[in-house]
């Protein structure tokens, strides 16, 4: 599956002003130059889309946008991979 949930693209472009051209299914928060505070903010905004119950903290730090898409909308691609590295959202 190589799509990106439209909410992810919307949040990245609208709130974080990430150029659309930089947003790919394989992009990670690091590759998009999102610092820890930006990632935490991103997680809150995406959590709303996931019904407020699935916390992105459960995703590995190197999760791609495709991983995040599957996580917030498991029906899209048969469920998300969970685990495999430090948590994505980290406090300073």
């Amino acid at each position: 599956m190589s799509t990106i949930h439209p909410k992810i693209t919307e949040v990245l472009t609208h709130t974080f002003k990430v150029p659309v051209a930089e947003i790919h299914p394989g992009s990670t928060m690091d590759s998009l130059e999102m610092d820890s505070l930006a990632v935490a903010e991103f997680a809150v905004l995406i959590r709303e889309t996931a019904g407020g119950v699935r916390d992105l903290d459960q995703l590995p730090k190197n999760a791609t946008l495709a991983d995040i898409t599957r996580f917030i909308d498991p029906a899209a691609d048969g469920g998300a991979r969970v685990g495999g590295g430090p948590a994505m959202s980290n406090a300073r």
Binding site: F16, K17, A38, E41, E48
Partner: protein
Amino acid sequence: MNRPAVAVTGLGMITPVGNDTESTWEGVCAGVSPARTVAELEGCAIDFACVVDGIDLDAAIGGRASFRMGKYVKLAVLAAREAVADAGLDPAGWESTRVAVVVGTSSGGSASLTEQAVVMDRLGAGATSPSGILLTIPNMPAAEIAIQLRATGPSMAPCTACSSGVTALSVARDLLVTGQCDIAIAGATESIVYPVAMAGFARSGAGARKDGDPAGICRPFAADRAGLVMGEGAAVMVLERTEDARARGAAPRALLAGTGATTDAHHPISPHPSGAVAQAAVEAALRDAGWAAEDVEHVNAHGTATPVNDAAEAALIARAFPHRPPVTAPKGVLGHCMGAAGAIEAGLTVLTLQRGVVPPIANLDAPAPEFDIACVTKQPLRQPIRRAVSHSFGFGGHNAVIALQRP
């Protein structure tokens, strides 16, 4: 006291009439207020204000940073960038430890605090922003400017309500003359046009109520003045010791000749009706500058259009400056930009000195008959001005006056 002279070498502004210094100057000289009904204030007792318009602030700030900034921070960062560029300075090349940032605000990010309180109440703590504190605290304009411009010298956020801008310029001047920095980025910012602030503002009695077209409501020094109109914006200056500025080939826009500050210690909102303590701030600024009262050729008044302020200030001006220098009051156009007002008005005073033009007071045919002051009305007054003062009197009784002169 023998101390180094301090020059204004850069100026940046973003206000309800313009998103930079030039457009602000043109708007203020046109003498027409942009005050209008604001959709977000629907249902408030006061649903109009002067707001910064016609700019995508997030796009102007740039990626991955604007989300963590309240509007008051964004305005300050944009004004600071303009000021530094105007000074011909390149942050990539400056000695960053010698650059100070002194940018004040009155209410900081109270707008964002209110938004977050609503989110918490409706959706729970988990839905609140991880940037919530950053969106709120009053030092963030100074901190974000320091981050953006790589300024690692002293930084701080003076908070003296509506005189915060002049206080910031005064503190920055002191940092320069005591050798604590070589460049000071100084000014103030404010953005509190949101329902909770506007409701409190209406209930305090200081705000004018709608009595026709919002553009005509703020009438400084008029007999029928009805209170202040809320504004928002930011102004930032680059200050340097004059000798340093000239050594690098920079042409000062103006010299910061002196400052004076006093505190009414009388009442949280009402100025002392005698104006004696505020006048002491004027006299302190003149002493600091080494001027006599008759040296002052122009007064940029606080002029809020509240009955009490304008009566006390007009009497003060008449007593302190019996030679009747021309008086303007930019709040007629801009509204009261609160913590930013003093910095914006000091910036306008700099331009008056440079250009020999005093902007008119909007919505004023003539001052109230009992005011013995020379208000500039209808058209800009064109005449050379060598020395001028700008008054700022804040809630809490904080009086701050700045004396500026042509280089």
